[in-house]
Point group: C2
Chain length 367, copies 2
């Protein structure tokens, strides 16, 4: 498989892999796709800098990208402490009560409780961009749409392409008008932030809206070669895959073996839920006792971004430490039903390409 996008990005296969793990990202790039490292977990720009140094040494000279989380409209951002003050007691109390009833232990005294994930803050996302542009990144993707114009401008000055996620054709149109180079059409079935329109409908719609100007990637529901081939049939120039890499050995290398990974392996495609509890915007998560608790009658409505992120930040730390497969908080798409074994990134990539090839051969017989 080789689309125009491959030449544009300097990659062999039109498979773009989003992942919070540098081990996964580097392995995807080494396997001929484009690994895109999610930056939101880095509160400290220096830490990201060090990880990108590692990427530079471990991608074998292949291209890679980064993914930041930057709302297109810059929020009026107060200092950390003021944002904390905006969180209602009712919400804090609900989180406390819920964690207790789910049997999630408190953090030990020596845990760094201040380690809330700050990557959702605009200033922190900007520091990610600053650091990334010091490295030979090929792509900066923004999970929340068009980045601000100066960010797009600076990326272009560095010869870096800018990608933006879109859940509607009108969003894609806006991104391209603002200078975005690649649109990721993220369907309803995708993990993380996602809209209402399913990949099957969304991809051709976005291709019809902007496909003559920029390449469109299909995201949501892709974890097999058949689905990659379907994405290309819909008019996409490639597949953007996120969830599927969570079930890889390389993911475990960065983020450890965990109840989360075991929960993902056990889940089927019905075991996800689209909810605002993770960030304040609708995002698809694994359905667990934690997401169930938020859909009970006594649960408060989630707060807007970034307050919800801050509200649940310590809860996420506690949940992660408790290592209980029934109380996981993890974005994942409906493709989780196809994630049934932990494999190497390289093996995943070879299977995708092999099955896509078989699909094209099968289509030859019926076209």
């Amino acid at each position: 498989m080789r689309t125009a996008l491959c030449d544009r990005l300097g990659i062999e296969h039109p498979i773009i892999g989003f992942t919070p793990s540098e081990h996964v990202a580097a392995a995807i790039s080494r396997a001929g796709g484009l690994g895109v490292l999610g930056c939101v977990r880095f509160n400290d720009a220096d830490e990201l800098d060090a990880v990108l140094d590692w990427m530079d040494e471990n991608t074998g000279g292949r291209p890679y990208g980064v993914d930041v989380v930057m709302p297109s409209t810059v929020p009026a951002e107060a200092a950390d402490v003021d944002l904390e003050a905006m969180i209602p007691d009712e919400h804090r109390e609900f989180v406390r009560r819920t964690l207790t009833s789910l049997g999630v232990p408190e953090l030990p005294d020596d845990a760094a409780k201040g380690d809330a994930v700050l990557g959702w803050l605009h200033s922190v996302a900007r520091s990610h961009v600053d650091v990334a542009l010091k490295h030979p990144v090929k792509l900066i993707a923004n999970a929340l749409g068009s980045p601000p114009p100066d960010v797009i401008g600076r990326a272009h000055e560095h010869g870096v392409l800018v990608a933006a996620l879109a859940g509607k054709a009108e969003h894609a149109r806006r991104h391209v008008d603002k200078g975005v180079d690649i649109v990721v059409a993220q369907g309803h079935e995708a993990g993380g932030h996602t809209g209402e329109i399913a990949t099957m409908v969304l991809v051709p719609e976005i291709v019809d809206a902007v496909g003559e100007e920029v390449p469109v990637l299909a995201a949501g529901g892709i974890g097999s070669g058949r689905q990659v081939a379907a994405a290309l049939a819909l008019g996409a120039s490639g597949a953007w895959m996120g969830s599927y890499w969570l079930a890889t050995k390389e993911y475990t290398m960065t983020l450890g073996e965990s109840a989360m990974q075991r929960a993902l392996l056990a889940a089927d495609s019905s075991d996800t839920v689209r909810t605002r509890i993770y960030t304040g915007k609708p995002a698809r998560l694994l359905k667990t006792r934690w997401t169930d608790a938020w859909s009970e009658q006594d649960a408060p409505s989630p707060l807007p971004m970034p307050l919800q992120n801050i509200l649940v930040s310590e809860a996420h730390q506690r949940i992660m430490r408790s290592d209980d497969p029934e109380v996981v908080s993890m974005p994942v798409g409906q493709i989780v039903g196809r994630m049934n074994a932990v494999r190497d990134v390289d093996e995943v990539m070879r299977d995708l390409l092999r099955e896509a090839g078989e699909t094209f051969t099968r289509l030859d017989g019926i076209r």
Copy 2:
């Protein structure tokens, strides 16, 4: 395009078109697909019989099918009057109040108010099957899953294939175990009754579960040749399309020009909602002031099938007569965003085939 399904059904193209209009169904069959006539609108079996006589004369000897609505578990069915008594006053009052506030006029005195749609009743659906088996139908599809064993048995005795819709792989498995011949994998984005799992994820899942035993049709989000090609790439043996035929001239021939059709032409892919208000089971409808009213805080929860059908039956008659594009009650999928002009069935079919062919050629260039 020619799959094994084409030989099985005796059709030229693997396009199966579900429609409540005999004019559309006959035109689809004449164009080389399989027209499947929805029977739920026929309260009177004799009326269906007459329409199938018409089909026999107007399909040019090509195969066609029928679609019934038969819950797999036979409900304890009381006489019409007892079902009416099971509907709470609160619900009747809400419907009355809502129609008034939406400006939907009462029925004129001479209108046959008793003409509730009874096709949702098991006994009526059975009468549809009885009538259909007197005609040379090729397929009986059931919108609610496996029909009862005796219905499957009788269909097979008549050499008629049985298809059943499935929104989960486990449902598909159950259908095939009961003797169903064709599974329709109906994704979340589809119109009418639909589950949570999107077509992109659902089709390969159902193909993996039962595809070695029976053909699987992809349903949900299909209204272009790219989407037909994607469905085949996912492993489907053909496309099951319902919504798209609502924007055809032949549909208007059966059911008249209407505000409904104008509303569908104006809608985009975000203008649908999945709700239980149409039948008691989750179904995707056009989003209008009617569906909005049911999601207000003061709205009661929809009743179970068939009570909800009976509750809204007269409302549907009134809404249809009022001919207001803002107060339509109509099942339609997210593909409504691609329904922007009223065309002949034949032209729609030719476009689907042409674009699918172009898609295969395009894929040749990138595979």
